[in-house]
């Protein structure tokens, strides 16, 4: 660790501080999924390495009841430490890094002191741990993560390797849901209260946005105690014409009681409804269910028929009939058009992803190996079929003004994917950050996509694990590639979301349905991912996004040529394969820079006008001088004022620009920054202006920001990699890592006095000089 940083921590952190985010990291998201650590002076007083038992490790760490202070690494208590471990990197097999492996309660950390390289692996992210055959240098341990990181550690002693292996297996997948990371995670660095994010979305207001309840659709409280269907939300929207008998009957005739309910209502009154498969077997029928579908049909009075979409391949649906389930018989249901759309089941998807990862992990593959592997994995084919089905639904709703009832088997995997994507094609709101989160809240969380089972959060049936959400995120990415200006968020947003669904750091995605989350009291006991993301909004903005460029209906081109392999996701940790100059981040920096300059220009204009006025007054008083310069001055002032007006109008026109969003975020942060200072600064201009103040104002805004290129590490010696966002200090224009730029303060050179990101030395300088500026 850099001495400068260490000094700094001592200064900034009060003595009783328990937690802060750990710095140095090799991979991008470690800082996001970082542990809570405590600062302590203890270092050499090692603790005896005891055989690992999950509960013991946990309780010992959590209760802090150890007699001797534990050995720490970056403040994390180390459970086990193994020296002389080699980390094998496929692209650098000749020169493996040698270093120390630390095992803590939350992370596995590998430190290579020479390469300044640290690899942090959150236990919750570990998908599999495998002991490979012994080699001459030791026993290799291969770890595959749900974030698609794959590393092999060669541990000199077999005994150590086995111990790490056994411990990791236990830590990666706790047996009890309450052992998940989110129940222990405390976020002190994030400046966000625990409830933040839990209250951002509620289902009823999302339906209100769709103008529901309405004449056709009403809220039913039949499920308020989850008695009708325990995997559905408590508030359900159903056709107003459907009686309680119909609802109950339909629910009984559907697998897991998941009756047809409203998912999305388009403005033309065509709706997307979702349910599970009917329990039709070979010939069973249910009048209430038939009536239910008829009620759905009648909510859209302009159309005489509707679609029933079974997202499964026909053969799977047929097979289900043998178990008393199946699909709707067109002869029994009036005016429906029935379609099979052929998305494969979770097991096919799981093995497809496994094959895809195998392809990514090929050792020095040729182009043919890679493309062949990509083809045989079938991954892109599956992505295409999901997009196609979703587009079929969206088209039916928009072009044919026809309602669609969607189901698969249980209606929580494929149905969720296509209902949410279908809505996203139809409604531009879902392509904003807030809207996208609302979409996930509605179609994924409320309607019971089984996150904990599909992600394997806790030990359970491995056959229940499947990359259903990953596919959804992949589909969204495909669309962002086709329509660069249509989504308000960027790739980093998608990756962060994906990783945190797996990380269990936040309570948002814990459990399998709404009822689970209420039973676990997650909103009281854990943090929400939405709160965290709101605090990092400026990292997720797509600078190209414009509401004007966003069409109402997104018409994707689903030609096979347009479905691409997402390198940024599946090869994320192959440091060598990514573009060396990330366009998105450079553009974000440009936007920030422009925003800083605009603000500065407004202040300069104000100061210039003020001085001119003063000089003019002064000259008027003296009357000795001819009026020549005054004319010029007045012209200038007019010019300035015009400029000013232009700028203001421009800002207003822009509406939601990236800058504005940053402002929102920043103003939030400023509440705990420098209260009071801002009012003083902006109001004093009319009183007394000093040269010192002007100098301070000019000195506080960097006209040029350092180029992001070829900067390999932050001043704190954290190495930057492809995915780490590099930040500029708005005052000095230097480049820092996310951790070094954690301060926000208003700059004297900005008129708006909103808090902006600055580095720590600049922060101190501004606070220190605050006294000079306010006379």
């Amino acid at each position: 660790m850099n001495r400068w940083t260490a000094d700094f921590w001592r200064q900034v952190l009060p003595h009783d501080t328990q937690t802060f985010i750990v710095p140095v990291n090799m991979y991008r998201y470690q800082d996001l999924i970082s542990p809570d650590t405590s600062i302590s002076s203890g270092n050499d007083t090692g603790i005896p390495t005891s055989p690992s038992v999950y509960g013991r490790v946990r309780s010992w760490l959590l209760q802090g009841q150890c007699s001797a202070p534990p050995e720490l690494y970056h403040g994390l208590s180390i459970h086990k430490k193994v020296e002389n471990v080699r980390m094998l990197d496929r692209y650098n097999a000749r020169k493996p890094s040698i270093g120390t492996l630390y095992l803590t309660a939350t992370h596995l950390i590998f430190v290579d002191p020479d390469g300044k390289k640290e690899t942090w692996i959150l236990h919750m992210h570990i998908a599999s741990v495998e002991k490979l055959p012994l080699t001459t240098t030791g026993s290799p341990l291969q770890i595959r993560c749900k974030t698609f990181l794959s590393v092999t550690f060669v541990i000199p002693k077999e005994r150590d390797c086995h111990e790490v292996f056994v411990t990791l297996q236990q830590l990666a997948q706790p047996v009890h849901i309450e052992d998940l990371y989110c129940f222990h995670y405390t976020s002190s660095t994030e400046d966000i209260p625990k409830p933040a994010g839990w209250n951002f979305f509620d289902l009823q207001s999302e339906y209100q946005r769709m103008r529901v309840p309405s004449d056709q659709w009403s809220l039913t409280l039949l499920n308020k105690d989850y008695e009708l269907c325990d995997t559905y939300p408590r508030y359900l929207y159903v056709p107003s014409s459907a009686s309680t008998t119909v609802l109950l009957g339909s629910s009984r005739f559907r697998s897991k009681g998941r009756l047809p309910v409203l998912s999305y209502l388009h403005r033309n009154k065509a709706a997307i409804c979702r349910c599970s498969q009917p329990l039709s077997g070979f010939s069973a029928r249910c009048l209430e269910d038939e009536q239910m579908l008829n009620c759905v049909l009648r909510t859209n009075p302009d159309n005489s028929f509707m679609y029933v979409v079974d997202t499964r391949p026909r053969i799977n649906a047929m097979a289900n009939r043998a178990t008393g389930k199946g699909y709707e018989n067109e002869n029994f249901y009036e005016n429906i058009k029935f379609h099979f759309l052929g998305i494969e089941n979770i097991h096919v998807m799981r093995s497809s992803l496994a094959k895809l990862i195998e392809t990514c992990e090929l050792k020095s593959p040729s182009m043919s190996n890679f493309l062949g592997g990509l083809e045989s994995s079938g991954w892109l084919r599956h992505i295409k079929s999901i997009l196609e089905t979703s587009w079929f639904i969206a088209q039916a709703v928009d072009e044919k003004e026809t309602s669609v009832v969607v189901h698969c088997s249980d209606g929580w995997d494929r149905t969720t994917q296509v209902c949410s994507l279908g809505s996203l094609f139809l409604d531009p709101y879902y392509r904003t950050i807030q809207g996208f989160q609302a979409l996930i809240e509605k179609d994924w969380l409320a309607f019971g996509h089984k996150f904990s089972e599909r992600c394997g959060h806790v030990a359970g049936d491995p056959k229940e694990v499947s990359p259903v959400f990953t596919q959804f995120i992949d589909c969204i990415w495909q669309l962002t590639q086709q329509f660069p200006a249509t989504f308000q968020f960027n790739e980093r947003f998608l990756l962060t979301l994906h990783d945190h669904v797996q990380s269990c750091q936040f309570g948002t995605f814990i459990g399998n349905c709404e009822k689970d989350r209420i039973d676990l009291r997650l909103n009281e006991r854990t943090f929400s991912l939405w709160g965290y993301m709101a605090n990092h909004m400026n990292e997720y903005i797509n600078p190209l996004y414009s509401t004007l460029a966003t069409p109402d209906i997104l018409m994707p081109n689903i030609a096979p040529q347009n479905i691409k392999f997402w390198r940024g996701m599946y090869c994320r940790f192959e440091s060598g394969v990514h573009p060396r100059e990330p366009l998105g981040d450079l553009l974000l920096a440009t936007c920030d820079h422009s925003s800083s300059l605009e603000d500065h220009i407004r202040l300069l204009t104000k100061r210039i006008n003020f001085l001119k006025q003063q000089l003019a007054d002064c000259k008027d008083n003296k009357r000795n001088f001819p009026a020549v310069p005054i004319d010029g001055t007045i012209d200038n002032i007019k010019g300035m004022m015009l400029d000013n007006k232009y700028l203001y109008e421009k800002c207003r026109e822009d509406g939601i620009t990236p800058g504005n969003l940053v402002q929102l975020k920043i103003s939030h942060a400023s509440n705990n920054g420098l209260p009071g200072d801002s009012t003083k600064l902006s109001s004093n201009a009319a009183d007394v202006l000093s040269v010192d103040q002007l100098a301070a104002e000019l000195g506080s805004v960097a006209l040029d920001w350092k180029t992001l290129r070829n900067i390999r590490e932050c001043v704190c010696s954290t190495p930057f990699d492809h995915f780490s966002r590099k930040y500029h200090c708005w005052k000095c224009g230097e480049v820092f890592c996310t951790r070094c730029i954690d301060k926000h303060t208003p700059l004297p050179g900005h008129l708006s006095q909103r808090a902006v990101p600055v580095c720590r030395p600049c922060f101190r300088e501004i606070r220190h000089s605050g006294s000079i500026e306010s006379p």
């Binding site: 990514c360 890679f370 190209l544 100059e581 366009l583 003063q614 202006l689 002007l694």
Partner: protein, 503 residues
């Protein structure tokens, strides 16, 4: 009798269908298009009839003469290199330009002897001198024949670029087998015994017909948007186009690595020294030389390494992927070069002054153009056709500020370093901007670039404005202090705003 549909398949991969109901006109149009698209007499081609509607500010025909291109080199390294006019009447090598750069220490007789030893007289010439002092040379294969003949002059010529005790690399773009079989036809490769200071490496790159067949398969696959994903991927793979890109970049990176990291000189050749050779030497320069990543630099590179080096554009580009009767003489090597540049561009989107649309424009003009630049197979032929007098150069058109503007990359931030592209399969992707442009709508991507341009321009304007206002404020401040309105700087205070404004 009825009319019919005329399907026109263009060299830029577009397919147009014309439905003509009048049978007479249908036949006339068909024959006319057919005749006009296969003109044999070069002087009947469009460039000879095209008259520019713009004033020529700078004549592209003279903009990139070897004398100017290499002037800096031969003045700064005057004791090592010289421009030789030994080929002024194209007698030593028919496909070389009249002026070539050769080592100073080697006299013209030696060069003539060496030229006799190389196929088509393409003796080793300087292609690029790297900052490290190592040089990149290219030639054709030595005519060793089955008995492994030697030519002391050729050995002296290429040894002269190596410093004492230094070693160099000969990169042969053929497979070892191909190089061996070339012996029976009089060609061959440098025998190790006679070139002890050089290490031979075979880095095979597919050429000629293989390449054109590959392109044909690729374009065919791209045009079929209704195929299944599996079919598309398998056709993409079996076209081998992406493999060719990987091989080419790999070879170019190897050359660049030898020059930059090992400081060793490199001689590149295949058999004729026309296709793969030029591909590799030009790409290596894009990797190594920041100048080649500018608009003018790339134009100069195309002039030096393709046009003046005698790449027979009219022959190679006579047939494209849709044509029947493709032979060995037809090859999309230049397109492969542009695609490779595009791949590097994708990995370093801020290091190039131009946008990838510039590469597409070059691709189009190299196959068919109103400008004379890509006519003639070599300088001798171009001189014979009097192209410089009778036609307009593409560069004359491009280098006009208003045209140039539309190709500029708004994200350009000059990068003086060597840029090492990744050649991992997942790093290379199909150039959809080119290959899919007729089948997939590219407007969202183009609009995105427009937005990027306006964001960057706005930022530049704001910076200028802020500087101007700071200066104005500094002036007013001085005035105000003199007038006593402003409290002067307190002692020990931070620097005044004037100093800051200047900074």
């Amino acid at each position: 009798m009825q009319g019919g549909s005329l399907i026109i398949k263009c060299k830029d991969f577009r397919i147009i269908q014309l439905d003509i109901s009048n049978p007479d006109k249908f036949l006339k149009v068909a024959t006319t298009v057919e005749n006009l698209s296969s003109l044999d007499e070069p002087t009947k081609l469009y460039p000879f009839f095209y008259r520019p509607m713009f004033p020529i500010l700078e004549d592209g025909w003279t903009a990139f003469r070897p004398e100017t291109e290499y002037s800096q080199l031969v003045t700064s390294q005057a004791d090592e290199w010289r421009i030789s006019y030994i080929n002024k009447d194209f007698s030593v090598c028919a496909t070389y330009p009249s002026a070539v750069v050769v080592p100073k220490s080697v006299d013209d007789d030696t060069i003539i002897a060496a030229a006799n030893f190389r196929e088509g007289g393409r003796f080793p010439v300087l292609s690029y001198r790297h900052d490290t002092g190592s040089v990149l040379m290219r030639s054709s294969q030595p005519m060793t024949g089955p008995s492994s003949k030697r030519c002391k002059e050729d050995e002296r010529l290429i040894n002269s670029v190596l410093g004492p005790g230094k070693r160099g690399y000969i990169i042969d773009t053929r497979t070892q087998t191909l190089a061996q079989t070339a012996k029976s036809r009089g060609g061959g490769f440098e025998v190790e015994m006679y070139y002890p200071q050089w290490r031979r490496i075979n880095k095979p790159i597919d050429r000629h017909q293989g390449l054109l067949d590959s392109l044909a398969k690729l374009v065919e696959a791209c045009n079929d948007t209704t195929a299944s994903t599996d079919k598309w991927l398998s056709r993409l793979e079996s076209s081998n186009w992406m493999s060719h890109i990987k091989d080419t970049l790999n070879c170019a990176c190897l050359v660049a690595q030898c020059l930059d990291q090992e400081g060793a000189s490199v001689l590149v050749h295949g058999s004729e020294g026309l296709d793969a050779t030029l591909l590799v030497t030009s790409l290596a320069q894009v990797i190594l030389n920041p100048d080649c990543r500018t608009v003018r630099g790339l134009e100069a590179l195309v002039e030096r390494e393709w046009l003046q080096a005698g790449y027979p554009f009219p022959i190679r580009h006579r047939k494209s992927c849709y044509s029947t009767g493709r032979t060995k003489a037809h090859a999309p090597t230049f397109l492969l070069f542009l695609d490779c540049v595009g791949q590097i561009h994708q990995q370093f989107p801020c290091s190039f002054e131009f946008r990838t649309s510039f590469l597409i424009m070059l691709f189009e003009h190299s196959y068919c153009s109103q400008f004379g630049t890509f006519l003639g197979t070599c300088e001798a032929e171009r001189a014979g056709m009097k192209l410089a007098e009778q036609t307009v150069s593409l560069w004359s058109y491009l280098n006009r500020p208003d045209i140039l503007q539309s190709f500029l990359n708004p994200m350009y931030d000059p990068n003086n370093r060597v840029i090492w592209p990744s050649v991992a399969p997942m790093s290379l992707s199909l150039w959809s901007e080119l290959f899919l442009r007729w089948v997939v709508d590219q407007t969202p991507q183009q609009k995105a670039w427009e937005t990027i341009t306006s964001l960057r321009e706005k930022d530049k304007e704001l910076r200028l404005k802020a500087t101007r206002l700071r200066r104005q404020l500094a002036d007013l401040e001085k005035e105000a202090v003199e007038a006593g309105i402003l409290v002067p700087a307190s002692a020990g205070a931070p620097p005044t705003s004037e100093a800051v404004a200047d900074a």
